[in-house]
Amino acid sequence: MPAHKLCIAVLAVLGLASVTRAQEQGPYGIGRSATPAEIAGWNIDIGGDGENLPPGSGSVSHGRMVFDQQCAACHGAKGEGGVGDKLVGGQGTLATTNPVKTVGSYWPYASTLFDYIRRAMPQNAPQSLSNEDVYAVSAYILNMNGLLPADATLHAKRLSRINMPNRNTFVGDPRPDVP
């Protein structure tokens, strides 16, 4: 091998080695690698587009059972609200003096329903529902808002495709807007 080629090869190896080292460790060498299994166990974020929704499904009718047993005490038998927020109705009220913000009238993304119920509800026992029950109860809440038929079954694909009525009213922050 000619000397200059050898030189390049050595440089390449050195360069590669330093890149690899850089990927193994940060500047301070503090912390340990997170394994894919650890990340999968903790990462419960669902994107607005449904990213990271788990496999599984749940029907509106099963969702009604879950709701009656685990949600109605705080959210009302028909989602009309109580200790917990009103979950149903309010469409068409946002530009009035008495806006009613609910999943149906206000929320821009349906997949947020799965995310929030799984991480935070029922308030007395968060992260206790199976993914199937979360799909089902999400389906029932969407159904009560007229956004899913009564015989529907919800799964990742279907949930991410639901068009929320208020999706297009969200705008960025224009402040300072006053004075």
């Binding site: 990927q23 503090i30 912390g31 340990r32 990462n43 607005g48 927020d85 224009p174 402040r175 006053v178």
Partner: protein
Amino acid sequence: MTEPTDVDNDLGLPSRRRFLREGSALLGGAVMAGGLAGSEALAASDNADNLPPNVPEWMKAPGDPMGSQLYGTPSPFEKGVIKNIPDNLPQYLSASGRTPLQDLDGIITPNGLFYERHHGGVPTIDPAQHRLMLHGLVDRPLIFTMDDIRRFPSESHIYFLECSGNPNYKKPYGKTASDLVGLLSCAEWTGVSLKVVLQEAGLQPGAKWIVAEGADAAAMTRSIPIEKCLEDAMLAYSQNGERLRPQQGYPLRLLLPGFEGNMSVKWLRRLRVAAEPTYSREETSKYTDLMPNGSVREFTFYMEAKSIITRPSGGQRLSTPGFHEISGIAWSGHGKVKRVDVSVDDGKSWQEAQLQEPVLTRALTRFRLPWQWDGKPAVIQSRATDVTGYVQPTLAELLAVRGDNYYYHNNAIWPWRIAANGEVSNASA
């Protein structure tokens, strides 16, 4: 609109705080802010044996021995100075409690009086079992123990923290400074710069947002723009010199100076670097601002310039005409406070107040104005201007643009009315 669980503020409600205050006032307690309630009134109800020319009883016997309190608490005579927590909330797990601003001096909030907002109660976390996971668009997904976090180079900064709903735009308006803007506190935070921790994992191209999650029962989740994460965001483990209180996120919280408080996620357990925000419930259903035409402002992060007079303020009473110092606090999420103007004639004329050093970026700034009260009814108010030149608006100006369903980010001027008998009340109420 009734939002029984939307508790980022809770106005005009009878509070335990006020109840206790009135209770101790009846007992002749010394909870009235000094110089406001008359010293003569106190003397009249006190035991004259302790007053000149007599020798007070506390000089005639030794006091409590060293070690009678292993963690100090305030004087029993200050027992009325406590958090302002409404006593009629539908539930107390997702709720807020206010700092008694009108009873505090300076710019630092004592840790026990720091305002609180939780979305799923206050967890009790063993720091040995707490982990921070950093993953997503990074070269090296990492897990840190609390010992790991404390090995990073540390820094300390004084920053305010304010809830976005401080207060609502609708009547009834609060009676005291705490009722109005008590979801506001300021502390010296110690921790590691988030930028340093991100460099440890190595950001990948396309990293635009960081989704932060708490280890509480709400798994509180907010998306933060990467620019803020690389500017002045901190992972804080200490507050005013001691480890965070559980209510403030023990053992680790995010701190985003100048941003609405709920984004400084407490009990921080996970940071996911992403190309998109996650559109969590707390950045869509809540913490978005509804305009009169039905459009909704989202990702409204900054708390704009604001000020309030805390002395004299609602619920207090000027004991006598004559000299009174007007004092208050000013702050801005956009940087330093540049000036504060005070009016003592219902907004007809304004005088520049003196700013107490230090004047710090995104911290509370104390202002003062010497004042002679002539004993006639008066309306006093303060108006902050920050380094960007932005001037704090009136409530009417805000309402004209945003309407009263906007809910969050109300940075209005709050004038106080002083009656001929010295009683101070909210002039907008």
